[in-house]
Symmetry: C2
Subunit: 144 residues, 2 copies
């Protein structure tokens, strides 16, 4: 049980790394967090799926290049691990985002998204297999 708590902490540390990488514009950190190869999938900010780590990192590079100040505050974070040894983990959370409205003006905009991510335990630590983020807002007022 203590093992489980410690494992969840390492999952969450890797998960937080993704947001640290975006905030710092640190593509090397971002690269270190993803499984290598073609199996990875990323749906950033409600966009189209990007598949394969090379393409995922190119997408993050474009996002970082087009993003000024950005800060994430994660809430409602929940983690669960696979029953068969716990080598796969799912993390879901709400991303509360504060970002620069315009590089020229001293103004900020807030936003909210929900994210679900799958991480896999490797010899080098937990790595992202998938990350899917989508904005929420007025749609929650719909019937569906």
């Amino acid at each position: 049980m203590a093992d489980g708590v410690a494992a969840e902490a390492t999952v969450l540390a890797a998960h937080q790394g993704l947001y640290d990488a975006i905030e710092a514009g640190d593509l090397d950190l971002m690269r270190s967090l993803w499984l290598p190869g073609e199996a990875t999938v990323c749906v950033p900010f409600g966009g189209e799926p990007v598949r394969g780590t090379a393409a995922v990192l190119r997408a993050w590079a474009v996002i970082m290049a087009n993003t000024g100040y950005i800060q994430f505050i994660l809430t409602d974070v929940a983690v669960s691990r696979s029953a068969d040894g716990g080598g796969t983990a799912v993390v879901s959370c709400t991303e509360n985002v504060l970002s620069e409205a315009s590089p020229a003006a001293d103004s900020f905009i807030g936003g909210r998204a929900v994210a679900s991510s799958v991480l896999v335990r490797t010899a080098g630590g937990w790595r992202f297999w998938t990350h899917h983020s989508s904005p929420v807002g007025t749609s929650e007022d719909d019937d569906r």
Copy 2:
């Protein structure tokens, strides 16, 4: 290798079941597709995360009750399985949705969403651990 192809086919059959269940309004089928317990997460149609299978099924029941005719055509379907025995699978796809604009009128609306799902192999077959769907449209024209 042949085993892998057969396993992927069974993953995709379970994955398709979710859409069959929505189309048919079949909550029993939907229930049979999810892992029991509290670890499951569902983000339906760009909404808020719903956690735990009892809550997930209540959310689907509400969606089904508020949905008339609906048809999904899945494109760009990709599946990958975990390296440690293949007991976890990720499926990502584009959901092309045709639904009734209004029960009274004979009109339909189309939409498009992207979905990523995680399924787990159990003694009773592949079961959903997570499902995250988010609409795409004009946002693909953004820089990010």
